[in-house]
Amino acid sequence: MIKDITIGQYFNGKSVLHRLDARMKIILTVVFIVSIFLCQNFWSLGLMVLFTLMTVIVSGVPFKMVLRSIKPIAIIVTFTSLINIFYVRGGTSLVDWRFIHITTNGVFTALFMATRIVCLVVISSMLTYTTTPTMLTDAIEKLLSPLKIFKIPVSTLAMMMTLALRFIPTLVDEIDRITNAQKARGANLDDGNFVQRIKALVPIIVPLFVSSIRRAVELADAMDCRCYTGGPGRTRMKQMKFHLRDFASLFVILVLIAGIVVLNYYFGAVLVK
């Protein structure tokens, strides 16, 4: 279960996507997510799916790993699709039996929603697969830096984010270790009813909290020892620079949006008002 967590996972590679500037990647991801919701018919939606697939192929991340990031959202996708099918009205009626009414609009909305969510998750996981957590937080810090005018401590927030991401694998290891230690003392974590299972977690959660707090204190001391004060004036070892490929990728996305607008206009909307 714990091994399914894909947040902050990085897949080492040398593709164009890996080499793109992290700031640009974040902007492009946001633009892409917005443009998914612009699609009004199957042609433009198809174009988005095609683009998503191309991104995966270009990145060199194995399909298996991409599928793993979709697995946790399978339930949400199924659930929203079912609700859409049964509750959205309009268009031609397909089934009209007692309390069940299914219309073309319902089916289309369900299909659109499912595709959109999957594309959205795949593209955002491509962002984390091709960008190291440090690059990602550096980029977020840079993108948020205009907020400094409003006295928001952007660099401190970025440091907090870096640390949080840094400790995900450590905590996963820790949970594994503590679970095994308690299992060795006969703790039964897999059987019993709901209440029993919750109770069985106490021997894992208490040591986890204790060691997390200890770790946090140690980390703070270590940062103090290296004279970390945060705030303004801190410079970076690796400066981020935009290259030609970053602008080229921006251009590709703009062409994609133009394509969607044209397809939307040319084929019209699939949903009937």
């Binding site: 270790r177 060795a184 003392r185 006969g186 208490v206 040591p207 204790v210």
Partner: protein
Amino acid sequence: MPVLSMKGVTHLYNKGTPSQSKAIDNINLDIEEGELVGIIGHTGSGKSTLVQHFNGILKPESGKIFVDGTDIWSSKKATREARFKVGLCFQYPEYQLFEETVYKDISFGPKNMGLNEEEIQKRVLLAAKYVGLQQELLEKSPFDLSGGEKRRAAIAGVIAMQPKVLILDEPTAGLDPVGRDKILDMIKAYREKTGSTVLLVSHSMEDVAKIATKVLVMNDAHIEMYGTVDEVYSHSEKLREIGLNIPQVSKVFEILNKKGLNLGSAYTVEKAAELILSKGGAAV
């Protein structure tokens, strides 16, 4: 019949990913009842992985594991029984403490076995005695104990289950020399009193030499050697080849022997002193 036995056990880490690796490879091993086996090997040689198979914490990729002649993966019941028959104390066990008092924490294992209050109390007090925890400490919070006391309280938590086989993974790691000797003496005394089998994972050849009856050397996912202390430690060349250092005192003896003193071999300071006193005088 050996109390622990492995037949062709292989374990893979990160199966199905690019970083897949064999932690232990086709291990065949029999451990007889009553032995105190020291398991040594450098970091990453597979020692910890090996011992975590005996109580079913890790499931092997292939091969069979027998505890007391029962295949521990043959049924759910057998796996659970193995948990109690083989008490495994992990590295840095003090991080598993969670209860309000030391007493409650030590009784966690016996409670999971479904024993009655009276039996639990008996076992907790006995376990505390084995590890040398004073009675008044039992009512304290485990988080108020010193590092060494925490370690011993955690070990007591495993001993209280009264397992047939006790496995300790690096029980002396990170302790000062006094704390280290205390733990080693405790293990030795525990085995002598209860007659149970003990497996001691360590990378300190000195520690193992002090108390073990047999030594198992792991190297690169394989068993390199398995025999009595004398047998294994006499292969000092081979041990050095795989990155293990024989005890300091043995090195001194090797040099003395080479110089023609013919003192025999010693692995602990006590044995060395004994040898020098008995043979040394005649040789010089």
